[in-house]
């Protein structure tokens, strides 16, 4: 079985982000820590578990992003994937999700795959679109927010459970090839093994260069970015930790959530 897993590098949630007025987009401060999108880590883990259960399975990793995102491909290989392709973008700007999905879908690793796994969404753009759009490009059946999956005997495809609201799950049978987007909680992603990481670091990745600026007809664009509206007063307590603690205790006792003397 051939599996393609799409992974993305994202800044960790604590990253310092600001508005880049000239670029009309978000600037993530250089000192920020970047890592693999959590949802994608679960997708890589799911693929590696299939490989362990079905010898002969190969896992190819694809990531679209600037130069620095190469490390997440190597990390995925360190977790147990076999090869990787890096589609290098000039920067971190917004790319229309259908353009991006088209780029990945055009790879032979996508059209040859029996199973394509993506994260349910990226933690930075939060669109949840690249997976389902790729499925449409490739005319594959697709299930999103997958929290459980079983590869069935040959010819019977894959059975998955999707998470829906209210604690319900939807069981879906898909013929292969298929595309699934993975929800966190499906597994606990492993740490890369040292020996595999060493191999990963030596491996030559396929490198392609893409540029969204060459996309003459994006379906959507960013008009502007702003800081979010404050929905409540949001008083920031000032002072040392103990001063803040004192203030908080007063506030909580004034509102009779606690009793203090």
């Amino acid at each position: 079985m051939k599996i393609l897993v799409c992974v993305k590098q994202v800044p960790e949630s604590e990253a310092v982000v600001s508005i880049d007025k000239d670029a009309g987009w978000v600037d993530v401060h250089d000192t920020s820590v970047f890592r693999m999108n959590h949802f994608d880590e679960c997708a890589v883990e799911a693929a590696v578990q299939i490989k362990e259960a079905f010898p002969g399975t190969t896992i190819h990793i694809i990531s679209v992003g600037p130069e620095r995102s190469e490390v997440v491909i190597r990390r995925a290989i360190g977790m147990g994937a076999d090869h990787g392709t890096h589609m290098v973008t000039p920067g971190d700007g917004f790319v229309d999700p259908s353009t991006l999905a088209g780029w990945i879908a055009s790879l032979s690793e996508a059209s040859d795959a029996d199973l394509i796994l993506c994260g349910a969404m990226s933690e930075d753009l939060m669109q949840g679109q690249v997976g389902p759009l790729m499925a449409e490009y490739l005319s594959l059946p697709c299930a999103t927010a997958v929290v459980q999956m079983t590869i069935m005997p040959v010819g019977e495809g894959v059975h998955v459970e999707r998470e829906i609201e209210g604690g319900y799950r939807e069981a879906v049978a898909l013929q292969l090839p298929a595309l699934l987007t993975i929800q966190t909680g499906i597994n606990q992603p492993r740490y890369p093994s040292l020996s595999k990481l060493l191999r990963a670091n030596k491996l030559k990745l396929n490198t392609l260069y893409v540029d969204a600026m060459e996309d003459s007809a994006p379906l959507q664009g960013v008009r502007r970015v702003t800081l979010p509206r404050k929905l409540r007063e949001g008083v920031f307590l000032e002072g040392s930790a103990s001063q803040k603690a004192e203030q908080l205790l007063t506030i909580l006792s004034d509102r009779s959530f606690l009793t203090v003397l």
């Binding site: 939060m126 679109q129 389902p132 999707r162 960013v222 970015v225 979010p228 205790l249 959530f257």
Partner: protein, 330 residues
Amino acid sequence: MKNMQTSGSIVVIAEHFEGEIRPITYELVHFAETLQQFSPAPIKILVLDERAETLAKSLARTTGKDVLGLRAPQLAQYNGQVYTSILHEILRDHPPLYVCIGHSSRGSDYAPGLAMRLKAACITGVSALSVQEDMICFSRDVYGGKINADMVSNTETTVLTVQPGSYGPAPDRDLPKGNVCLKSMTVSPQTSTTLSTTPFQTSDLDFSAARVIVSAGRGIGEEENLELIRDLASVIPQSVVCGSRPVIDLGWLTYDRQIGVTGATVTPDLYLACGISGAAQHVSGMKGSGFIVAINTDPMAAIFNLSDICIVEDLKTFIPVLLEALSNKR
């Protein structure tokens, strides 16, 4: 049938579950009415179901809008491919201006694929609308809600998924009921089949008795730091410990304590968010809380935008200081 043409209209796709219209449907109607102020066009509701008649009639009565019920035996359960192919068939020859879908587990499942078939832009997780220089902008969260991006569409039809909880239901008015039209659809065999929809976990936790929720996020770092959260809860009467999804995914708390779109929706008098960034999926489960206090090391964390009290501190050091200060007073 003629008045049911969707050309140039604002289409709302109703969401329903086990014979009940979901609240997001009324929020979508409200959203569509707001959109209508910027882009005058009739609103049409489409409801897909095995029979569709009861749902369509009920929608026409409660919303006053025209409703088109689309029925097919394959619609006994939700299936993304079935939804996409039926909606594509209905909409392709009568392109609407907008297709409004819930940003729910189902809506997010079929909206992008439907958009692609309609050659439409798909803008997901929309939480507000505005007009700038004659262009309608759709606001959505990026970077965990730290930044808001105003998106514009370049296509004739635009598919939008609307974040649940962003728009309340449309205001009650005495409207004459809308017209109902039913149409039977045929669906060719699909490569995906929905087998069942079943409750996975039910909760015995009764949040109604909890006045206070002390909630742990990924920011607690290690499972042992959950003790700090428990210690904090133990000094606050009528409090319950809950968490964000990562804490539940890691198995540190049980699923019944997950707050958010795929967990519980709570409205305690006090919600204490410890190490929670404030992603929309979490916020939708707790934003109705009476008073919100957040402790987070990141001054830009989105949770602070909906907090009454913001504390920029490391919870690992701050909670012990807080407990110490409290015990000195008691």
